[in-house]
């Protein structure tokens, strides 16, 4: 099972930018230890949320043909803490992309206010590269990730149902 660290896309412009949100819940296991009595989302998981948002943006730009691997964290700066009840928004911008890799810049917002910047480099790993021992299938963009984007596109294209339960 993959650990999905974004709840939903709220914006997606192919080959340009994407925004996704994550609502922090007190029920998340890691918060019990980080820290006991004062739950705080670790910066590493804020970076992971941006990596997933930006990674899907990068993968979609080339039709999910390759595995997109986080290769380098160019910058990760945060100001303040994210705690249960906060909504985190990851705004990713695709700066550069070619056959080798991609570079993204990103803003992390907490409840609508800027709280961090995360700039990343992703490497494109091709199934054809036999120097690497890779599985035959695309092991990065599993159905869980693809469904996130599909859900957003479905809601934008067809509207979110308003008559459920009536």
């Amino acid at each position: 099972m993959r650990w999905i660290w974004i709840d939903a896309f709220v914006e997606f412009e192919s080959r340009r930018r994407a925004s996704a949100v994550k609502n922090i819940s007190r029920a998340e296991d890691y918060l019990h230890d980080h820290f006991s009595g004062y739950p705080v989302m670790p910066a590493s998981l804020l970076i992971e949320g941006m990596a997933q948002t930006a990674g899907i943006l990068v993968g979609e730009a080339r039709g999910f043909k390759e595995n997109v691997i986080l290769a380098k964290i160019r910058k990760a700066e945060f100001d303040g803490y994210a705690v249960p009840g906060d909504q985190i928004r990851f705004d990713a911008v695709l700066e550069t992309i070619d056959d080798r890799a991609a570079a993204t810049t990103g803003l992390v917002l907490k409840n609508g206010n800027a709280m961090g910047k995360v700039d990343l480099i992703f490497s494109h790993v091709n199934q054809a590269d036999r120097s690497l021992d890779l599985p035959d299938e695309n092991f990065v963009f599993t159905d869980q990730f693809l469904n996130l984007l599909a859900s957003f596109r479905s809601s934008v294209g067809h509207g979110i149902p308003t008559d459920v339960g009536k």
């Binding site: 160019r74 890799a101 570079a103």
Partner: protein, 130 residues
Amino acid sequence: MAVNGNEVFSKVQDVLTDALGVDAAEVSSEATLQGDLGAESIDFLDIVFRLEKAFAIKIPKGELFPDDILNNPDYVAGDRLTPTGLERLKTAMPHADFSKFEGEPSVSKMPDLFTVGTIVKYVENKLRAA
């Protein structure tokens, strides 16, 4: 296109301090990327992206840092480049200084070819050709 060497060096210095997290004072022309500045393989990609943005140039794969030498059995024998391999490397890297390397073309010493000066020379050549 006219090229200002000091300006190119200054911009390359900025690129390397940002990419490698080193102080500007460490980024001298003779400093090697891996040995002196601690660059790792993924940093080379980061450096290429930053150079492209800083100078509005396009750096094709393998042009700044050749990547078709070590995997070719015609170019490498044991821990040394063959004469063919050395010639191929010189052709691929007109921006590098081979004066120390060609006397003992050891594979393990190849990273010493990648200095700050090598990058500056590459960018200058690229800008002149534009």
